[in-house]
Every structure is written in structure tokens, then in C-alpha cells.
């Protein structure tokens, strides 16, 4: 954490604990596929302006929970809110417009569009995306220039500026992850939800991805991410939420949550000191 007061100073390390300034509050979210319960979250609060990691063994329901929160899947029951407004049964597009933008485990770069076009697409409030307005460039040119300037700024930050006229499909896997993250930032979201941002990224790029995530927090963006790599979780997260079999079984700061016996049993087994990333890669 930075020199600021630790926002988690008074947060208890128990599943479903209340946060001092929650941006997302989920309650009683239940999703099952046939007889299989994928997600059964009693209560979760996500602290604003912090980096929260969501970890758990394969099949713990992390990605499904992500899909539910962002509108890509519908739960059987449950309620959740973003900044106090309910987000239930909102379409993914509406969730994104509310300020909650996600990325995907399998990167979704728009291959046959250039990098800069990918970025421009991420922007909000371009009136020219309306059919009739689109016919009259005079109505959207000015906004397009603003958007392009912003896109170039972000590409500069993410060191993709030299690639701006390449097709996104020509980028390497890691660069696509960077592009997807940069694109998500085009609409100035309040919270970005990163689904396994490190999956398939080579170690050389991992470092810069980590820096970008930390930088997001410094710019006032809340980050919630799903990750397998424990080293990364320890390094950058302020708070860790552990899921297993659809439930939240533990919460706490990264230094101590691994000591929790429930976590060790469910997830780490006897290997909690070893580097899991090697097993998973």
C-alpha cells in the first residue's frame, strides 16, 4: 500500500466482512447449472480504490461469479449493487456503461481491426455510433479527435503506440492483454474487472502488466481480478478473497490469508510454500 492510511485497517479478515467504502456489494448470489452449484456467494463487499484478488482452485466459480457481476450470465437468485445502484438483470452493455468494465480470460482483441480502432471502440459517448449521426461526419469529427488523442495517450502508457496501425491480430498474446486492458480504460471506468490478466503472458511482459495494474489504483480505479499466480497476488493485491466450490471461504490481506487453514485445505493443500505458477504453466 502507499503512504495513505490502509483502508483495510479496520476490516476483519472473515468471509463476507464489511468494508469501509464498498463499491460492489453482492448478497445471496446463487447460480447452478443443472444440479451443479457453480456460485453460492452469501455476501461480498469490494473496497473502492483498492486491488482485490479473487483466487481459488479450478472450478471454484470465480469466472462464473465474474460473469454474473458483469451481466454476461444470469443467476437463479441474488442481488448486487454497484455504487448503491442495483445491477441485477442489467445487460453487459449497461453494466459497462455504468462504469464497470471487464476483460476476458481468453483475450478478446478485435483481430481484423487496427490497434487504434480497437481503442476508439472502447470510448464512451461517441454520438457517431448512432446510425443517422454517422452519416454526417461534421457531427462526430471533433469527438473523434478527442477520443483519438486519449487513445494515443493510453497506447503510449502501455507501450503499444508503435503498433497503432497494425491489426490487433498481429500482436503477441501479451500485447493483446495489454491492448485489452488499455481498451477497457478508454471509457474511464470506476472499476475494472480483470479475468486472469496474466494467463499466457510471457515473464518479460508480466512485470509491465503488474505495474499497469498498480498504476490503475494510483489513478483512482478500483481493480478486481481473478488470478492463479500466487506470486502476483501477493505482490500487488491489497485484499484477497478466496473461493472454493462456489462459496467464499476466506478473506484477508495477502500476507495472512494463505495461513488460513480453510484456504490451505481447499486450495493449496500441503504445497502452500511452493510456486503454484510453475505447476500451472
Amino acid at each position: 500500500m502507499t503512504a495513505k492510511e490502509n483502508p483495510f485497517a479496520h476490516t476483519s479478515a472473515t468471509p463476507g466482512s464489511a468494508k469501509s467504502d464498498p463499491v460492489i456489494v453482492a448478497h445471496g448470489v446463487h447460480r447452478s447449472f443443472g444440479g451443479l452449484t457453480a456460485v453460492d456467494v452469501e455476501h461480498l463487499e469490494v473496497q473502492r480504490h483498492a486491488i482485490t484478488a479473487l483466487i481459488g482452485p479450478n472450478g471454484a466459480g470465480k469466472s462464473t461469479f465474474f460473469n454474473l457481476l458483469t451481466g454476461f450470465d444470469k443467476p437463479q437468485k441474488g442481488e448486487w449493487s454497484f455504487n448503491g445502484d442495483s445491477l441485477q438483470s442489467h445487460s453487459p452493455a449497461k453494466v459497462a456503461r455504468a462504469g464497470m468494465v471487464r476483460t476476458f480470460q481468453l483475450t478478446k482483441a478485435l483481430s481484423r481491426m487496427t490497434v487504434i480502432e480497437n481503442m476508439r471502440l472502447g470510448a464512451a459517448g461517441q454520438g457517431g455510433e448512432n446510425f443517422f449521426t454517422a452519416l454526417f461526419p461534421a457531427l462526430w469529427r471533433a469527438k473523434e479527435a478527442t477520443i483519438t488523442a486519449k487513445a494515443e495517450d493510453l497506447l503510449e502508457r502501455f507501450k503499444l503506440i508503435d503498433k497503432q496501425n497494425d491489426f490487433a491480430g498481429e500482436l503477441s498474446g501479451g500485447q493483446r492483454k495489454l491492448l485489452e486492458m488499455a481498451r477497457a480504460l478508454m471509457s474511464d471506468p470506476e472499476i475494472v474487472m480483470l479475468d486472469e490478466p496474466m494467463a499466457g503472458v510471457n515473464p518479460a511482459l508480466t512485470e509491465s502488466l503488474l505495474e499497469h495494474i498498480v498504476e490503475l489504483r494510483e489513478r483512482g480505479v478500483t481493480v478486481l481480478f481473478v488470478e492463479h499466480d500466487m506470486h502476483m497476488v501477493r505482490r500487488i493485491s491489497d485484499w484477497v478473497v478466496v473461493m472454493a466450490e462456489g462459496k467464499i471461504i476466506a478473506e484477508g490481506p495477502p500476507e495472512t490469508v494463505m495461513q488460513n487453514t480453510a484456504v490451505q485445505d481447499a486450495y493449496l493443500g500441503a504445497h502452500h510454500d511452493t510456486d503454484l505458477s510453475e505447476d500451472l504453466s
Binding site: 459497462a96 482483441a109 478485435l110 491480430g169
Partner: protein, 343 residues
């Protein structure tokens, strides 16, 4: 047939109204497939609805002594009314097709559109609506071409320009050539404008990955619907143009028509502005050339004249398969797209 005559025939295809009509239909399909990635396999359905919408409206008005709702209709007004009906019918058809299918994966749209286009054709053929559609014989050209031909500023006789002789005003006329290509040019201009706008950018995003576009806050369903309806309307106008040079017959707009439109779009290059035009010109020209050359060089004992037509279509088909395999981006497509392996 002599060689020079064959070249003249092939040259006539370059600017023929049929070529223009198919180019226009392909521009419509380009909005579907090229921009948005929608697999519309029933484009002939849109074209047929456009033909019926126009021809029936104009025929009824003409038979009613040019009266409509108690107003006397000038030829221009009758044409405008017919075109309006063609547009409205195709909009409704597009909405009906898209409403249940656009929320599903792309392949479902392909299945539904091919079935829907066949339904339109069979309804047109059915005896039940014989009074309206003329059943399987369709609607004769002279029943609905009157107002269009009346507007022609060209002389009412054969006119020769260079090696080409067409009538000034009637049926496949110079007048129709001018009108058809003007409309094609306008549609190409529309495609150019829209494909380079933020609206077109969203459509391209949908083509590449719907979920990514959703996650960026765009209403994917609405954009797919807009693309389907707009492309369908342009396809219907292509049908209207086609009917001016021919007649309205349901079987002339069957499945092969859809596949021809697809072929010439892929030939020219999907998602390009001029691809549909170039594709249509090359397609019709090579069809005439292959047919003519086959007639010249293949003896009657091998293939009878009636077998020549299917044979040349087959040859064209094989050529196009090779083209799509070895140059999938088409003639005008961007070479770099080939490097991207996600087909």
C-alpha cells in the same frame, strides 16, 4: 458465334443492369457479412420481396387508372410509392428474421434466413395468392414497367453507343443502365461513409467478437438489427432493379441467387467499398465468356447446348472455390488480413 461477338457480349455485361442489380444486392450483403459478420443465407428473399413489393404496388395503381387513395398518380409518384412499399416490406422481413435469431450464435441466422427466403419464394409460387403474385409464372414486365419507362428521357427506339446496341427506354435499356448504376454508386457511397464512421466501427467490432463489444458498453443486438435491416433494404432495391430488366418470377430468385451474390461479394472482397461492384462485373462477364468459349470449342457430341449452361456455371464455381481458398480476402481485400489466423 464469332470471337468479336463474344467479346462484345462479355463487354455488355460490364455495364448491364443485371450486373448493377447484383452489385447493389451484394452491397446489401456487404453490410451484413462484410461489416457485421452476419451469415445471411437468404438474401434472395429480400430481393424477391423488393420485387413483389414494387411490382404489385405499381401494377395495382396502374390498373386503377393511376389512382391511389383518390389521388391521380404521376409516373414518378407511382414509382416512389412502389419503392416505398418494397422498403417497408423488407424492413418488416428483416425485423422478423432478426428478432428471434440475432440473440443466438451466427449459424442460426444462416439456417433461419435460408429457410425464410425459401418460404417467401414458395408463398409467391402458391396458387392461393395467384391474384397478387401471379403464382409460379409471376408478374409480367408490362404490368409494372410502364411508369418507369414513361419517365425515360431517352428516345423510344434502339440506340447504338460504340459496339453496344440497347433500346433507349424499354426493358433492358440505356435508361435502366443509367438509373441502375446511379443507384449502385449512391449505395457504394453510403457504404463508404458508414463503414468509416463510428457506427461502422461498432459493426466491425461485432464481426470480430460480440462479447468484447458488449463489455465495452454497446448494445450488440441493436447494432446487428440495424445492419440486418439496412442490408436487407438495399438487397430489396437490388431486386427492384433486377425486375426492371426482366419480369417478376419467384423461381428466378431462388437459392442460387443468394449464392451468386455471396460469390461475387467474396470475389470482389468483403468489407471493401468497390468489391461488390468489381465482383459483379467479373462474375457476369466470366459467365458469358466461359459459356461462349465452351460453345465454340466443345463439340456437340461431348456436351449438348442445353448442358453448356450448367457446365459453365460449374467451371465458374470451381474457379471461385479456388479463389476463396487461395485469396480469401478477395481481389480488393487487405493482404495483411491473411496473416491473421482466425478463420
Amino acid at each position: 458465334m464469332d470471337f468479336l461477338g463474344l467479346l462484345t457480349d462479355a463487354g455488355r455485361e460490364v455495364f448491364a443492369p443485371t450486373t448493377a442489380a447484383f452489385a447493389l444486392a451484394a452491397i446489401g450483403l456487404n453490410f451484413h457479412f462484410g461489416l457485421t459478420g452476419l451469415l445471411n443465407m437468404g438474401h434472395a428473399g429480400f430481393m424477391l420481396l423488393g420485387m413483389y413489393g414494387y411490382a404489385i404496388t405499381v401494377r395495382e395503381v396502374t390498373e386503377n387508372n393511376d389512382m391511389f387513395l383518390g389521388l391521380h398518380m404521376a409516373p414518378g409518384a407511382t414509382i416512389a410509392l412502389g419503392v416505398m412499399v418494397a422498403i417497408i416490406v423488407s424492413v418488416i422481413f428483416g425485423l422478423l428474421l432478426g428478432w428471434p435469431t440475432l440473440k443466438l450464435r451466427g449459424d442460426y441466422l444462416a439456417i433461419v434466413t435460408i429457410a425464410a427466403a425459401e418460404m417467401v419464394r414458395f408463398l409467391g409460387r402458391s396458387q392461393t395468392f395467384k391474384d397478387l403474385t401471379g403464382g409460379s409464372t409471376g408478374i409480367r414486365g408490362k404490368d409494372f414497367k410502364g411508369p418507369f419507362e414513361a419517365l425515360s428521357p431517352f428516345p423510344d427506339r434502339q440506340v447504338t453507343i460504340g459496339p453496344f446496341t440497347l433500346h433507349g427506354s424499354i426493358s433492358t435499356s440505356w435508361w435502366l443502365v443509367v438509373v441502375s448504376w446511379t443507384i449502385v454508386a449512391l449505395a457504394a457511397l453510403l457504404f463508404w461513409r458508414l463503414s468509416r464512421s463510428p457506427w461502422g466501427r461498432v459493426l466491425k467490432g461485432v464481426r470480430e467478437d460480440e462479447d468484447a463489444v458488449r463489455s465495452l458498453g454497446k448494445n450488440v443486438y441493436s447494432y446487428k438489427m440495424q445492419a440486418l435491416v439496412l442490408g436487407g433494404v438495399i438487397g430489396a432495391l437490388g431486386g427492384v432493379l433486377w425486375s426492371f430488366g426482366n419480369a417478376v418470377a419467384p423461381d428466378s430468385m431462388g437459392r442460387p441467387t443468394t449464392f451468386w451474390v455471396w460469390t461475387l461479394l467474396l470475389l470482389g472482397g468483403a468489407a471493401t467499398v468497390l468489391g461488390p461492384l468489381l465482383g459483379s462485373v467479373l462474375f457476369w462477364m466470366s459467365l458469358v465468356l466461359v459459356k461462349g468459349l465452351a460453345a465454340m470449342f466443345i463439340p456437340d457430341t461431348w456436351l449438348s447446348p442445353t448442358q453448356l449452361e450448367p457446365f459453365s456455371l460449374m467451371l465458374v464455381g470451381v474457379t471461385l472455390m479456388l479463389l476463396v481458398i487461395f485469396r480469401p480476402q478477395g481481389i480488393l481485400g487487405d493482404r495483411r488480413e491473411l496473416a491473421i489466423n482466425d478463420r
